[in-house]
């Protein structure tokens, strides 16, 4: 497929290109998703680099979460191509860990904290494999890493919002993946949890893993992330925070919905 010239419907009026084979942890080409006839994301190209933390930012309804879900095949895509580490997404799944939004599950489900973390090992254990002591201690180690070591046998409904988010992160850690995709991991969590999560994500980055977060807090983009991807249905900009996170790009992304005073406080990169 890569050596055949293909005209992609990807390029949104720009000249068609040959698809380049990318070894990036996650690469999207011409990704389009629509609900009915209204595109949620339209013809998005993106490359998420290894050993970096990337923020996906954009206004509400801009397709941030949709982008992640479509890349993973959680929702069907209308067109476009997704590769992970140079392979089709389906063959790379063992290397990818996904952290959905906390609100997407029923927290009264009959399960305990440690059971949720072990869900991250289901793929490895298979249908009938046993959870050996080694796997259990690995799950416990993941809980320790997010500061929830003492909570293993709690029913998940007894957790605070921040603790729920930490458990979800521990489940992703248990997968021992190379690419971590997180959907709004800091939404509605307490300050201590936010610090604990960012510490874990930074250590993942230090291990060479790619971390991609849908992020809503523009004030922390500069502190937390290396790379930024700005979207409002279409891609607006992508690149290093230092050069890409500019007031022009923000205005283009948010369409003037950000107050000028707000933009002033963001310690933006110099405009191009």
């Amino acid at each position: 497929m890569t050596d055949t010239p293909v005209t992609l419907a990807a390029t949104d009026g720009r000249a068609a290109r040959l698809p380049q084979k990318s070894d990036a942890p996650l690469a999207l080409r011409g990704l389009t998703v629509s609900y009915g006839e209204k595109p949620a994301i339209f013809s998005v190209d993106a490359t998420f680099p290894a050993a970096q933390m990337t923020a996906i930012i954009g206004p509400n309804g801009a397709g941030k979460s949709t982008l992640l879900k479509a890349a993973l095949g959680v929702i069907p895509r209308l067109s476009g191509e997704v590769t992970s580490f140079g392979e089709p997404i389906d063959t790379a799944r063992a290397r990818i860990a996904y952290v959905p939004q906390r609100a997407s599950v029923d927290w009264d489900f009959p399960t305990t904290v440690i059971d949720v973390v072990m869900m991250g090992l289901y793929r490895q254990v298979g249908l009938l494999g046993r959870f050996t002591g080694r796997l259990k201690s690995r799950a416990l180690a993941c809980l320790d890493r997010v500061g929830m070591g003492g909570f293993a046998d709690r029913q998940i409904g007894q957790l605070s919002g921040g603790q729920q988010q930490r458990v979800f992160l521990a489940r992703a850690l248990a997968q021992d993946a190379d690419l971590y995709l997180l959907d709004e991991p800091f939404a509605g969590v307490d300050a201590a949890t936010e610090r604990a999560i960012i510490e874990v994500l930074k250590s993942l980055k230090a291990e060479g893993k790619a971390v991609v977060c849908v992020h809503h807090d523009l004030a922390t983009v500069r502190d937390y992330f290396d790379h930024v991807f700005m979207i409002n249905v279409r891609k607006i900009a992508e690149g290093p925070v230092d050069t890409t996170f500019t007031s022009e790009a923000l205005n283009a992304t948010y369409g003037g919905r950000l107050a000028a005073t707000h933009i002033d406080q963001l310690r933006l990169a110099e405009g191009a």
Binding site: K69, L72, G73, V74, D90, R93, I96, Y98, P100, S104, V105, D106, F109, P110, T111, T112, D115, V116, M119, Y122, R123, V125, L127, L128, Q155, S160, G162, R171, L181, D190, A191, A192, T193, R195
Partner: protein, 405 residues
């Protein structure tokens, strides 16, 4: 009571024993197979599936008769019911996935249309006058009068397979029921797992037609898992608890109905199952209503105790009856409302802990620790002794206080 005891010991005759064994196995299979349907919050789909079995029963009868066979061959009838139940299931799935209709509307449409169609076919069969049609209506509410050994074998084999499949597939089904998006991201084929859950339910429905009938089988699929949920916080345990509760309902229900003439088996089984549910709803240790009321009252008393002691420490008068009663019960105040020795010590401790918390919130800005301030958790459970000593140093008050009596 003797007939009941005979029935419970399977001594009430061959047919009654057969029914009791069959109902127990069916109850177990239905409870276990219904668990994930309940956890996936799709319990009512089983009602549509159950009602969609009726046209299949009628059509199978017509086909078998027109080929010159015995129209009442059970395996043939069950096969027919499985076919239309499967079509009904796919119709619900298709409408929910491909149209703008929500699943509840799809269930309503499929349930009524298939059931109506089934009734029409049964009416047509009655006009066929072949004389052999008697008994098809028994699939509506179940009938155990003419139960054969082979019927029990069908239930045993089919039920075991359904339980086995539930156990083998418990991990993907747990994933899908708890967090379908995460399951999909992990490469689990969510629609296929959903279809499997429904397929298991369909199998149990079909083998249960004979004993409880298509209208009430849904109760056996839903009530035992709901009841089991009151007793455990782990999904794997829910499977076995639900199976046990369903089996118990089947066994007790069959014995009860055998102990008196003219008690219908299926409805009695459902009533027994509902009784177990009611008992669990009221008396389950953590999730039951009684436990919740008790917890609330205990909490209320703790709040009143603290408010009362704070009032004592500020020498404010206490008017609330409950507060006075709580303080009197612990001998913190005398009958005339004056604080006792212990009461004054406790009041001083509470007042000091309040000041400690004020300091703690100044020092520890992070909500992780100070967020646990509710006025009821003793500060010693949140902070280490050296931290508390630091608070005291800042308060500058007396460090040594009469022990925490």
């Amino acid at each position: 009571m003797t007939p009941l005891i005979e029935a419970l010991l399977l001594q009430a005759g061959y047919n009654a024993a057969l029914v009791a064994v069959g109902a127990t196995l069916l109850g177990f299979a239905a409870g276990a197979a219904g668990t994930f349907l309940f956890l996936r919050k799709r319990a009512l789909v089983s009602d549509a599936v159950a009602h969609a079995t009726l046209p299949g029963v009628g059509l199978a009868f017509i086909i078998m008769v027109s080929f010159g066979g015995d129209g009442r061959n059970l395996l043939g009838l069950l096969l027919g019911s499985a076919v239309t139940a499967g079509i009904g299931l796919l119709a619900v799935e298709w409408m929910a996935r491909r149209t703008r209709l929500a699943e509840d509307a799809a269930i309503g449409a499929v349930l009524s249309v298939f059931f109506g169609f089934g009734i029409v076919i049964l009416t047509v069969i009655q006009t066929m006058g072949s004389g052999r049609q008697a008994g098809l209506e028994s699939f509506l509410l179940g009938s155990t009068a003419g139960m054969l050994f082979q019927d029990a074998v069908v239930i045993a084999v089919g039920g075991s397979l359904a339980v086995l499949a539930t156990w083998i597939m418990r991990r993907p089904m747990t994933l899908v029921a708890f967090d379908a998006e995460y399951a999909a991201a992990n490469g689990v084929n969510v629609p296929a797992v959903d279809r499997l859950m429904m397929g298991l339910v369909m199998a149990v429905t079909v083998i249960g037609l004979k004993i409880v009938g298509l209208i009430l089988i849904v109760a056996l699929l839903i009530i035992p898992p709901v009841t089991a949920r009151f007793w455990t916080e782990r999904s794997n345990a829910v499977i076995w608890y639900a199976g046990a509760l369903g089996g118990l309902s089947g066994y007790l229900g069959a014995a009860l109905s055998a102990s008196a003439p003219d008690l219908p088996t299926g409805p009695i089984i459902v009533l027994v199952s509902a009784t177990l549910f009611l008992v669990s709803l009221l008396f389950a240790p953590v999730r039951g209503l009684a436990a919740a009321v008790l917890r609330h009252r205990r909490f209320q008393r703790r709040v009143h105790r603290r408010q009362g002691l704070l009032a004592l420490s500020r020498s404010e008068p206490i008017h609330d009856e409950l507060t006075l009663r709580v303080l009197r019960a612990e001998a913190l105040i005398r009958a005339d409302g004056v604080a006792t020795e212990t009461g004054r010590a406790q009041a001083a401790k509470i007042a000091r802990d309040e000041r400690r918390w004020d300091v703690a919130r100044e020092i520890h800005q992070d909500t992780g620790l100070t967020g646990r301030y509710d006025g009821l958790t003793p500060i010693e459970q949140v902070f280490a002794p050296d931290e508390i000593a630091e608070f005291d140093r800042r308060i500058g008050g007396p460090r040594a206080v009469a022990g925490g009596v």
